[in-house]
């Protein structure tokens, strides 16, 4: 018998005999979850942090929702009508939709929410640019009238990539899209307990009894979101050793992203399951600044590709567990419909440092010192940065390894100035595979120059190919456009993918129904 048991028995006497059963019954209605990061805000429209999006998926609902085949299905909507040339989209809300404050969801709320979302989201901005009118026909029916066809409307409204088109009460949705909302009222299956929120430590979600569950089975963010818990508690455990111990001890039920170092330890515990969490994984990114020499020259960028070994990067990021990573000579997510290796030959086969050096010299590399910004507080970017420092040295480039933190990198990478004035040459990051399944959520693929993502790559040909994907009426046309995008992006070296890697998730065996998805799915879970 353990000391705690003795104390309990002594203190509570006979009454405590019944307590374990009661505690178990109550415990099975509470899920304790360790998220990937601290939940520091709760606005998944103004911000694109994954952890915020994951929390918001419980609190807010969407008009449509993608299932595990990335097909958008009606969610808050009953359905829609669209004309032949995709310029008029009419939607009807389901009856009985309620917000957590008891108010009925109406088209006023929908219109305000969509207007806010369209300012922040890439697809929303495309819709906005083609918009003649977004109008309410009655309390449950609304319509988009566009001046140009937009075939991807359902995907735009149902995608799970941030910013998600969440529907909020009108008063909240009227918040400036560049400011965080201050009230967290949605119509999703869980209510956010603001009074119990201790940022950096805990966030609590309580079951919303008024949620209008769809009759279908839940599948990712579509279908019936049946939550079998009264409360879901997010316990923020930034220390991996503590999280591992808490999971083994049964103090938490599910740890979203255990680091690979502790996975062997978790696997040994017979009470735990460990498996790949997100089948879409992540794509590592070697991001160059196209504005500053020497990476303003496409030849220099191509020279790097000749020497870059994806397996070196992936081993540094994910270790020797080959189930966790593979080479990825393509920009789209391996295994997704649009994945192609067209144009990616430079990343295949043995690495050729001599050829890289020769190409560097021919391309006009004048011995500039490369400002390599490495956020050393994030394990993945630290690993990538170390490999890059070694790679650049091998091909004769001078490197200034700037060890810094992620917060500082966030500021530095936004600087378009020359290196001497605080600019940069290279930084690393990674993109969630779910964001790389097609060009819509894939901001890193954009080559629109000044308006593109950090590094500001510019290629009219890439932009035109992306436009072709948006106009594609079917999957075959989408695939043709993707092949073109991939080839042109490699020619332009928009950025260099450093490989594809997966991450584990771990949960206690008394928790059933954990599904593989790019976000934690809390509906359908049960705890015994």
């Amino acid at each position: 018998m353990k000391r705690r048991d003795i104390l309990k028995s002594a203190a509570a006497g006979a009454a405590v005999l019944a307590a374990p059963a009661i505690a178990r019954a109550q415990g099975s209605r509470v899920l304790k979850f360790v998220p990937q990061a601290n939940l520091s805000s709760m606005d998944a429209v103004a911000g694109t942090q994954y952890v915020v999006r994951n929390a918001a998926l419980m609190v807010w609902d969407t008009l449509y929702g993608v299932d595990s085949s990335i097909t958008p299905k009606p969610q808050m909507c009953e359905g829609h009508e669209v004309n032949a040339d995709f310029t008029t989209w009419t939607f009807k809300l389901r009856p009985g939709l309620k917000f957590h404050d008891g108010e009925t969801v109406t088209t006023r709320d929908v219109l305000a929410s969509l207007k806010r979302w369209m300012v922040r989201d890439t697809m929303g901005q495309i819709i906005s640019a083609r918009l003649d009118a977004l109008e309410a026909l009655d309390d449950r029916t609304f319509r988009f009238r566009l001046n140009k066809p937009f075939a991807k409307m359902l995907f735009a409204l149902g995608k799970s990539n941030a910013p998600v088109a969440f529907i909020m009460p009108e008063r909240i949705a009227k918040t400036d899209p560049f400011q965080l909302i201050k009230e967290y009222v949605g119509s999703g299956p869980m209510k956010f307990k603001t009074d119990e929120w201790v940022p950096g430590a805990r966030a609590v979600f309580e079951k919303f009894d008024g949620y209008a569950v769809r009759p279908e089975a839940g599948d990712w963010v579509s279908g019936g979101k049946r939550v079998n818990f009264d409360r879901i508690e997010w316990i923020i455990l930034p220390d991996a050793a503590t999280a591992a111990a808490a999971l083994q001890n049964g103090e938490v039920d599910w740890w979203e992203n255990p680091i690979s170092d502790v996975v062997p330890l978790l696997r040994k515990n017979r009470n735990l399951n460990v498996d790949i969490g997100d089948p879409f994984g992540n794509i590592g990114s070697f991001r160059m600044n196209h504005l500053n020499p020497p990476f303003d020259k496409v030849g220099v960028r191509r020279a790097i590709m000749l020497a870059l070994s994806q397996s070196d990067y992936m081993q540094a990021v994910a270790g020797d567990d080959t189930a966790l990573w593979k080479a990825c000579p393509g920009f789209f997510t391996p295994g997704s419909a649009l994945y192609t290796e067209e144009g990616g030959d430079a990343l295949k086969g043995p690495r050729n440092y001599d050829a890289a050096k020769k190409m560097l010299a021919e391309s006009g590399y004048a011995g500039e010192t490369i400002e390599l910004v490495v956020p050393v507080d994030v394990a993945i970017t630290k690993a990538e940065g170390d490999v890059t420092a070694d790679l650049l040295a091998k091909i004769g480039m001078k490197v200034d390894y700037v060890a810094t933190d992620w917060g500082t990198t966030g500021t530095r990478r936004a600087k378009k100035d020359p290196v001497a004035q605080g600019g940069w040459n290279i930084f690393h990051t990674w993109h969630a595979g779910a964001d790389c399944i097609n060009p819509a959520p894939y901001t890193a693929l954009d080559a629109g120059g000044d308006k593109a993502w950090f590094g500001w790559p510019k290629s009219d040909a890439v932009q035109a190919a992306i436009g072709e994907w948006y106009a594609a009426p079917d999957l075959a046309a989408e695939k043709a456009a993707a092949v073109k995008i991939n080839r042109l992006s490699f020619e332009n070296v928009t950025y260099i993918p450093t490989g594809f890697f997966l991450q584990y998730t771990a949960w206690r065996k008394n928790l059933t129904g954990v599904v593989k998805a790019p976000f934690p799915v809390f509906w359908g879970l049960q705890k015994t």
Binding site: G200, T242, W453
Partner: protein, 313 residues
Amino acid sequence: MLTYIARRFAATIPVMAIVAFFVFSLLYIAPGDPAAIIAGDQATPADVERIRISLGLDRPFLVRFGGWLWDVLNGDLGQSIFTNLPVTHMIAQRIQPTLSLMAITLVLSLATAIPLGVVAAWKQGSWIDRMAMITSTFGFSVPVFVVGYLLAYVFALELEWFPVQGYTPIQNGIGPWFNNLLLPAVALGLVYMALIARITRATMLEVLSQDYVRTARAKGAGQRAILFVHALKNAAVPIVTIVGIGFATLIGGAVVTESVFAIPGLGRLTVDAILRRDYPVIQGVVLMFSFVYVLVNLAVDLLYTLFDPRIRY
């Protein structure tokens, strides 16, 4: 005495003002951008810039400092950039776990270190003395997080006597509250205990060689009375000074301990705020810590008068 206390309180105002200006300046020149963190990794540079403007981070230094200072003078520490929660609310949420941790640490450390130091001095050169000094050297040498992990592994994971992480408010029962805090307090208190034990031993050695101790012995006073009544009281002033100085060490150690044991205290709040560049929270917490530190110094000065009647203010 009251005049002295009032004067000391008045003196905290310029100290706090200097601290406030210093912290604000440091944050202003430090790299990092909360707007970039809010916007997330997929945001465009234009999005980040718009958020910066909406947060007022594009305004000049003096405008921002002036606005913040005015709010502070009106009792408003501002709102977190990320959560939109008032900084005072966030500090209030976190103060109990930190105070609890520090209180238990303080009690445990003093209760262990002072007798240990006294006995070590009394039995100078004996095995007790050597063991006491080895223990305190260990306490100094091993980092707090290593001790924390070791304790968690043995007592939480293997023996299952204590929880690995978390905090139970005292309102939910003293037992669970203490159960959650004992391991962190031991981890945090080890270095503090080592510091006090060594100072107590050194001071006691000096005091025990004084004439009045010999006189007390000659008068037939018992060993316990000599040690704890005559000697310890006269050794108390340097010990109290070290307890005060050590308080700063405790604040620093609490940051690590709270992270290892996932205690939702002020230490973790500070670290999280710094990593996210949540300026109002950083400023609020640092201001509060500096005020607490000024209060501790004042308390130490006042305690001197208790132990040494010659000291008067």
